[in-house]
C-alpha cells in the first residue's frame, strides 16, 4: 500500500495578520507548524500502514524552509519525505498548487492520498479535492473514521452536518480528514534522530514534468486584487434593561432604521 500524505506548513497563529501594502501574510516572528488538520492525515497514514503494511510518504510544496515540516513528519514515523520546491511555483493558488501536487503524486504513485480537510491559514479546503480531479480519481472529504482498508478498496465514514455517511471507494482514492478521526501521535526519540539525519527528496517543476503555463502566479486562475481585514464598525447600540424593555427598544430601533 502506497500512502501519500500532503501537508502544508502554516504560521502557528490563529490570528493571521496581513501586510496591507503587499496583501501577503506577515510571517515574520511567527513560528511555522504543520497545518493541524494535516497532522491527523499523517496519523491516519501511519495507522493504515500499521494495519495494512506499505509505505507512507509525506509531500509538501513550499519554500526550502518547508523542509522543517517534513522532518517533523519523519519524527512521527513516516518513511519518506518529498519537498516540491521551485521558484516557478511561487504565487500558486489552489488550482496551480493542486496541479503541481498531482503531478508529483503521479511520479510517486499512490493507492491512498491523505490531506487535512483544509489549511488554517487559507481555509479554502480546495486543494485536496482538486488533486483528486487532476488525477481523475475519486475523493471523499471530511473523513471522521476509516472503517476498513482492503487491497482493492476502502470504507470510511464522512462527517455530515447531522450524523455521517458510510462510503466505499475503490483505490486509488483521496481522502480529506477532520480532527475527529484520530489523535496525532507524539514524535519518538528514534524518529527525531532519524529526522535529523534524513535526506529530504526534492522535486522541481522539471522533475514532475509540469506544464510551465500551469504553474505559479501565471498558472493561477485566482488573481488576488486586494486582501484586507474588515474594519470593525463602531455604529452599534447596546440595549439595557429587562428582556421586555430590550425587545421594545430593539423593535423601535429597527423601525427607526426602516428595517421593519
Amino acid at each position: 500500500m502506497n500512502i501519500v500524505v500532503c501537508v502544508k506548513q502554516v504560521p502557528d497563529t490563529t490570528e493571521v495578520r496581513i501586510n496591507p501594502e503587499t496583501n501577503t501574510l506577515i510571517r515574520d516572528g511567527v513560528e511555522s507548524i504543520i497545518n493541524p488538520y494535516d497532522m491527523h492525515a499523517i496519523e491516519a497514514g501511519l495507522q493504515i500502514k500499521e494495519q495494512a503494511g506499505g509505505k507512507v510518504t509525506v509531500l509538501t510544496m513550499g519554500p526550502p524552509q518547508a523542509e522543517n515540516a517534513l522532518r517533523e513528519a519523519i519524527s512521527m514515523g513516516v518513511d519518506e519525505a518529498v519537498l516540491l520546491t521551485d521558484r516557478a511555483f511561487a504565487g500558486s493558488d489552489t488550482w496551480a498548487t493542486a496541479y503541481a501536487l498531482s503531478k508529483a503524486i503521479g511520479h510517486l504513485g499512490a493507492d491512498i492520498i491523505l490531506c487535512g480537510k483544509q489549511a488554517i491559514d487559507g481555509d479554502t479546503a480546495q486543494v485536496g479535492p482538486e488533486i483528486a480531479e487532476f488525477l481523475d480519481i475519486p475523493h471523499i472529504s471530511y473523513i471522521r473514521k476509516i472503517d476498513e482498508v482492503k487491497e482493492d478498496g476502502i470504507r470510511v465514514q464522512r462527517l455530515m452536518d447531522e450524523g455521517f455517511d458510510v462510503i466505499e471507494s475503490s483505490l486509488p482514492v483521496l481522502l480529506t480528514v477532520v480532527r475527529e478521526l484520530n489523535v496525532p501521535r507524539m514524535p519518538s526519540l528514534k524518529g527525531k534522530m532519524a529526522a535529523k539525519k534524513a535526506v529530504i527528496g526534492k522535486m522541481t517543476a522539471a522533475d514532475i514534468g509540469a506544464e510551465d503555463s500551469n504553474l505559479g502566479l501565471k498558472g493561477s486562475p485566482t488573481q488576488v486584487r486586494n486582501i484586507f481585514a474588515p474594519e470593525a464598525k463602531k455604529d452599534r447600540m447596546m440595549l439595557d434593561g429587562t428582556t421586555d424593555e430590550k425587545i421594545e427598544a430593539l423593535v423601535k430601533g429597527l423601525a427607526g432604521l426602516k428595517c421593519i
Binding site: 507524539m186 514524535p187 519518538s188 526519540l189 528514534k190 524518529g191 535529523k196
Partner: protein, 386 residues
C-alpha cells in the same frame, strides 16, 4: 543557564517537555483527584521511546545514561510528580537487571522494558525495613531448582501496575548483610499477589501497593547476580537512581516557581503587580537561585555517575538531599507567594507542595542520605590522615 547539553540531550528535553505540556498538564489535577493510574501517558512515553533512554542499544534502548534520564525526569516532574514517579520508579526497578542481570535476563526483560511494553517495580522496603534495610523479613529459600519466596513488601511504587518486579529477600539469615539476594519475579506468578493500593498525600497518580509473597515459587535462574549479593545490588541500584530523585526535585521546584512568577506578574495589590514588591522579589530570587544550584548539582553528579566512577554514593546522596530539600522549600514558598490562591486547588502549586514532600522520604530519607554522606566523609578523612 546553559548546561552545554548535546543536541540529542536537548532533543530529549524538548520531547519530554512537549509530552508534559500537551499530555500531562491538562490531566494532572484530575489524576491527583482520582488517584487513577496514568495508563495513557505511559503509552505515550513508550511510543516516544522515553522508556528506552538508559537501556543499551543492543537491548532495544537508546544507550544513553543517567544525565539523559535526569533530563527527562525533570521535565515530567515539572508537570506532575505522580507521573514522573511512575516513570522514575520504572528505571529504579530496571537497574538491578541492568547492573547485575545475566545476559539471559537482560535479553529476556530489557527489550520489553525499553519499548515500554512492561513496567518495572523495585521491592526493598518492608514494614520493619525502611531506612534500616537490614530488617528485611522476606525470605527466599532454595528448594531444588526453585526459590520459595515468603514475605510482604510495603509501599512499592508501580505495585500492581508493573509486570516485572526486582526484589530483595533473605537467602541466609546467619550471614547478616551478606545473606540477602536479589530476584526478578513476574506478575502472575502463583503465590504472588498485591495488597491494597495506598491512599497518599501526594504523587497520587502513581500506584503504591504491598507485594505479598505466599509460598511463591520462582526458577533458580531468577536470582540477580549471586546469592548473598542482595545488598550490593540494592545499594548500587540506589546509587544510580538517586540523581533521578534529585531531578524530580529540580523539576517540581521549577514547575512551582514558574507558576509563582506567572501569578505574581498578574496579581495586583496596592495598585501594583505583587512581583514589583521587594518582599516577593526576594522570595523569587532565592527560589530561582536554589533551583539553579540544585540543577547544576544534579547534572554534575549525573555526569559523574555516567563517567563510570566507581563509588558515587556520597555524590548521589548529595544530589538527592540538596535537590529534594530545595523542592520542598520552593514549592512551599510558591504557595506563599500566591497566598490564598496558592492554597486552592484551582492552582497547581498546592499539589506540587504535597507531591514534593515524598522526595525527602523515599529512596532513602534525607536523614539517611546525610548518614551516607557523613560515612563517606569519615572514610575520606581517615584515608587522608593515614
Amino acid at each position: 543557564m546553559d548546561y552545554f547539553l548535546t543536541e540529542e540531550q536537548l532533543m530529549i528535553r524538548d520531547l519530554a517537555r512537549q509530552i508534559a505540556e500537551e499530555k500531562i498538564v491538562p490531566v494532572r489535577a484530575e489524576l491527583d483527584e482520582t488517584g487513577e493510574f496514568p495508563h495513557d501517558i505511559m503509552k505515550t512515553l513508550a511510543q516516544s521511546d522515553l522508556f528506552g533512554l538508559f537501556i543499551p542499544e543492543e537491548y532495544g534502548g537508546l544507550g544513553k545514561g543517567g544525565l539523559e534520564l535526569a533530563i527527562a525526569v525533570e521535565e515530567l516532574s515539572r508537570a506532575c510528580l505522580g507521573v514522573a514517579t511512575t516513570y522514575a520508579a520504572n528505571a529504579l526497578g530496571t537497574y538491578p537487571l541492568l547492573l547485575f542481570g545475566s545476559e539471559e535476563q537482560k535479553k529476556r526483560y530489557l527489550p520489553d522494558i525499553a519499548a515500554g511494553k512492561r513496567l518495572v517495580a523495585f521491592g526493598l522496603t518492608e514494614a520493619n525495613a525502611g531506612s534500616d534495610a537490614g530488617g528485611i523479613q522476606t525470605t527466599a529459600k532454595l528448594d531444588g531448582n526453585e526459590y520459595l519466596i515468603n514475605g510482604t513488601k510495603q509501599w512499592i511504587t508501580n505495585g500492581g501496575e508493573a509486570e516485572i518486579y526486582t526484589i530483595i529477600g533473605i537467602t541466609d539469615r546467619s550471614k547478616g548483610p551478606r545473606g540477602a539476594s536479589a530476584f526478578v519475579i513476574e506478575k502472575g506468578t502463583p503465590g504472588f499477589s498485591f495488597g491494597k493500593k495506598e491512599n497518599k498525600m501526594g504523587i497520587r497518580a502513581s500506584a503504591t501497593t504491598e507485594l505479598i509473597f505466599d509460598n511463591c515459587r520462582i526458577p533458580k535462574e531468577n536470582i540477580i547476580g549471586k546469592e548473598g549479593m542482595g545488598f550490593v545490588v540494592a545499594m548500587k541500584t540506589l546509587d544510580n537512581s538517586r540523581t533521578g530523585v534529585g531531578a524530580q526535585g529540580v523539576g517540581v521546584a521549577q514547575g512551582a516557581f514558574d507558576e509563582a512568577v506567572k501569578f505574581a506578574r498578574q496579581r495586583v495589590q496596592f495598585g501594583h503587580p505583587v512581583i514589583t514588591f521587594q518582599a516577593v522579589q526576594h522570595m523569587l530570587a532565592d527560589m530561582a537561585t536554589s533551583i539553579e544550584a540544585a540543577r547544576a548539582l544534579v547534572y554534575a553528579v549525573s555526569r559523574f555517575v555516567d563517567s563510570g566512577a566507581k563509588d558515587v554514593s556520597k555524590e548521589s546522596a548529595m544530589a538527592k538531599v540538596f535537590a529534594t530539600d530545595v523542592a520542598m522549600k520552593v514549592t512551599t514558598d510558591a504557595v506563599q507567594v500566591m497566598g490564598g490562591s496558592g492554597y486552592m486547588k484551582e492552582y497547581p502549586v498546592e499539589k506540587m507542595m504535597r507531591d514534593a514532600k515524598i522526595l525527602q522520604i523515599y529512596e532513602g530519607t534525607n536523614q539517611i542520605q546525610r548518614n551516607v554522606i557523613g560515612q563517606a566523609l569519615i572514610k575520606e578523612a581517615a584515608k587522608a590522615n593515614k
